[in-house]
């Protein structure tokens, strides 16, 4: 029983990082109908910005984190401004956006390799105590911090989308960008701000990742897992992405804990295909027939 609880805690902690990245995928997908595969690299760059600020420039930790999140938001914005917007204006099909994103992802990974080298870096730990022992069940302090921060960030995101005027614009563009444009919504501006939001979340995820694990040029590959999570949840749905992420985290730990750690990815991918077959648009997906 203790082992099961321990595994569930681990699963939620893994899932919470996935959730931050997955919600970024979902946000962008809901507006532009494409999977922004450079998202994981935005997360990596945010972590490096934070690392540079805190260890090289000796800035206070909180400021470094803010800089990391801001940096990721700016990079995400630049991706949109320089690359994606032009492709959209060219009138190219959506899949070109995806290919451009893959190109950006390769570029950023290798850029990071050239600038910082492939050595693993660590962000300093905030707490001196690594874990708290609850009667044989260990809960990491960094995990709790990350979980709390993820929850706060995601609640704020959901509030922005569902309650604010800007959120209304986002939902309008997601529904039909043409109609929204005719009704006076500045589409490019909405998209740009959404990219910044998604980037900020990715930056936060990157920093958490750096606190829990390491920072290295290919750490953005975690974005793949997050992408899968957002597909499970239903592309374009932010709550779906969050649910999908936690679910994927739980599936991974339970499979490696109780079935086979070697076959973990195999089983989680099979499960993914199964979910898609039963619910072809993901758990919370809407209107895929029209969006595809």
């Amino acid at each position: 029983m203790k082992i099961l609880i321990q595994q569930i805690i681990t699963g939620i902690s893994i899932g919470s990082v996935y959730a931050l990245i997955a919600s970024g995928y979902a946000l962008v997908y809901s507006l532009l109908d494409f999977s922004n595969w450079a998202h994981g690299e935005v997360c990596m760059l945010g972590a490096y910005v934070c690392f540079m600020a805190t260890t090289v420039n000796n800035m206070p930790y909180w400021l470094s984190c803010v800089l990391g999140i801001g940096g990721a938001a700016v990079i995400s914005f630049l991706n949109e401004k320089i690359a994606y917007r032009k492709i959209r204006n060219n009138g190219s099909p959506n899949m070109f956006l995806m290919i451009a994103a893959m190109g950006l992802s390769t570029t950023y990974q290798n850029l990071a390799n050239v600038i910082w080298g492939s050595k693993f870096k660590q962000l300093p730990k905030i707490f001196s105590v690594g874990t708290i022992n609850f009667d044989g069940i260990y809960i990491g302090t960094t995990d709790m911090l990350c979980l709390g921060l993820s929850a706060v960030a995601l609640v704020i995101l959901l509030l922005i989308i569902n309650k604010s005027k800007f959120g209304l614009h986002v939902r309008a563009v997601a529904c039909s960008s043409r109609t929204a444009g005719l009704l006076g919504v500045k589409i490019d501006r909405v998209i740009a701000v959404v990219f910044m939001l998604a980037g900020a979340l990715a930056g936060l995820a990157g920093i958490m990742y750096g606190m829990k694990y390491n920072i290295y040029p290919t750490m953005g590959n975690v974005g793949l897992k997050a992408f899968i999570a957002s597909v499970i949840g239903g592309l374009g749905s932010v709550p779906g992405a969050i649910a999908g992420a936690v679910l994927l985290g739980l599936i991974e730990t339970v499979v490696s804990g109780y079935i086979s750690s070697g076959l973990r990815d195999l089983i989680s991918f099979c499960l993914l295909i199964l979910i898609l077959l039963v619910r072809p648009s993901g758990l919370f997906g809407v209107d895929v027939q029209e969006k595809a």
Binding site: T10, G11, N113, Q122, T131, N214, V254, G262
Partner: protein, 388 residues
């Protein structure tokens, strides 16, 4: 920097003093001896590839300052193999066919070297693997020797044997667990040999877990290991992952001894592990602990402004070994070099003394045990279970 300027000035003055320059005349730069290097110079393992190349270039520079090999200048040509078998084969072919190298050093991946081995036998230019430790690098799966493949490192089975024996015999541990990287041949084969040796001696395997390259969270597997309460956990991974695994294991309350192999051998082990490896052991060849290597490390640090990696020492030893073979053969003919490499009965490099078994082309060299103690890597001593 000042020191270098001084040396250069001194060298220039000396050259002037000797009229037309003793160095320049002695060193034949028209007809250099070319040594190739294949390694991952791009991608996420570029760190070691670059380190190996830097090590070779530094050594070549030192050799050239001392008059080169057979009076000829040594040139190092490094090509990117991306750590992938296909790219490494292409890089090897390019070195041989287009650059005309007489021998190739690299790679540090077994999969790349297994692919290169068959090609090397055809193109007949020897290749010296650095850290490619799979048994099949020099002898294929049917037991036939690859005549043109050599290596500097231990083979997986020997490292596994040493680790298993040391843990059982010397440390007196009785139960073991292992966590392997299922996508990495080094990890799976060293891990399997560790466990096999340990259980053959009478130990018990209580948990066997797998993970994948690219994973960062091992807690699901470690929770199971924690429940099995082993005396020792074998972690045959590269050091970054070792540090993550060890920290997460300690966080889950695992107090066992961790045991590893030469993937742990780096100057960064302590910084990255945050104390989680205290009281743990690994088996490797002597290296950083040797005075020659330390002196080389200082020069290296000055030259490249990065810390010394074990791959640099491999690079150095590769070049020095080829130099010894060329000097013994009296020519840089690849076949003559191969014969001399095979006949090597004594070579002293920065990684210690070695000789070559002509049957398998595997080096026979001293193995050393290291312990992490008081927050530093301490050299325990040479270990040879046969001599007891």
């Amino acid at each position: 920097m000042k020191k270098r300027v001084l040396t250069v000035t001194a060298a220039a003055a000396l050259t002037l003093a000797l009229g037309c320059g003793a160095f320049a005349q002695d060193l034949d730069t028209e007809n250099p001896i070319k040594i190739g290097y294949v390694g991952a110079l791009s991608g996420d393992t570029a760190l070691w590839g670059q380190a190996g190349l830097n090590g070779m270039e530094l050594t070549a520079k030192q050799i050239n300052e001392e008059g080169g090999i057979l009076g000829r200048e040594v040139q190092i040509i490094g090509l990117d193999g991306k750590g992938a078998p296909d790219d490494s084969v292409t890089a090897y072919k390019k070195l041989v066919e287009e650059e005309g190298v007489c021998a190739v050093v690299g790679t540090n991946f077994s999969s790349c070297n297994i692919a290169i081995a068959a090609v090397a036998d055809e193109l007949e230019v020897p290749v010296i693997a650095t850290a490619a430790s799979n048994d099949q690098v020099t002898v294929d799966s049917d037991g036939n020797l690859h005549p043109y493949s050599f290596r500097l490192c231990f083979i997986d089975s020997y490292m596994g044997y040493l680790a298993g024996t040391y843990a059982y015999d010397e440390l007196g541990l009785k139960t073991c667990a292992v966590i392997e990287d299922i996508t990495d041949s080094y990890s799976t084969s060293v891990g399997d040999y560790m466990v096999q040796t340990f259980t053959d001696l009478g130990g018990e395997l209580v948990a066997s877990e797998e993970a994948q390259n690219g994973d960062n969270d091992f807690r699901a597997q470690l929770t199971k290991i924690a429940a099995a309460q082993p005396d020792v956990v074998f972690i045959p991974w590269n050091y970054e992952n070792v540090c993550l695994i060890a920290q997460q294991a300690r966080e889950l309350g695992i107090t066992s001894v961790f045991f590893g192999a030469d993937g742990w051998d780096t100057t960064e082990l302590i910084d990255l592990s945050n104390g989680a490896l205290e009281g743990c052991y690994y088996v490797s060849r002597p290296g950083f602990n040797l005075p020659d290597a330390a002196a080389y490390g200082e020069v290296y640090q000055k030259e490249y402004n990065v810390a010394l990696e074990s791959e640099c020492l491999y690079g150095n030893d590769g070049v020095q070994w080829i130099k010894q073979a060329i000097e013994a053969a009296g020519s840089d003919d690849p076949k003559a070099i191969r014969d001399q490499l095979e006949a090597t009965d004594s070579f002293d490099g920065l990684l210690g003394h070695m000789s070559v078994d002509p049957e398998t082309h595997n080096p026979s060299r001293d193995a050393a045990i290291f312990e992490v103690k008081d927050n530093e890597v301490q050299y325990v001593g040479i270990y040879d279970p046969e001599s007891k």
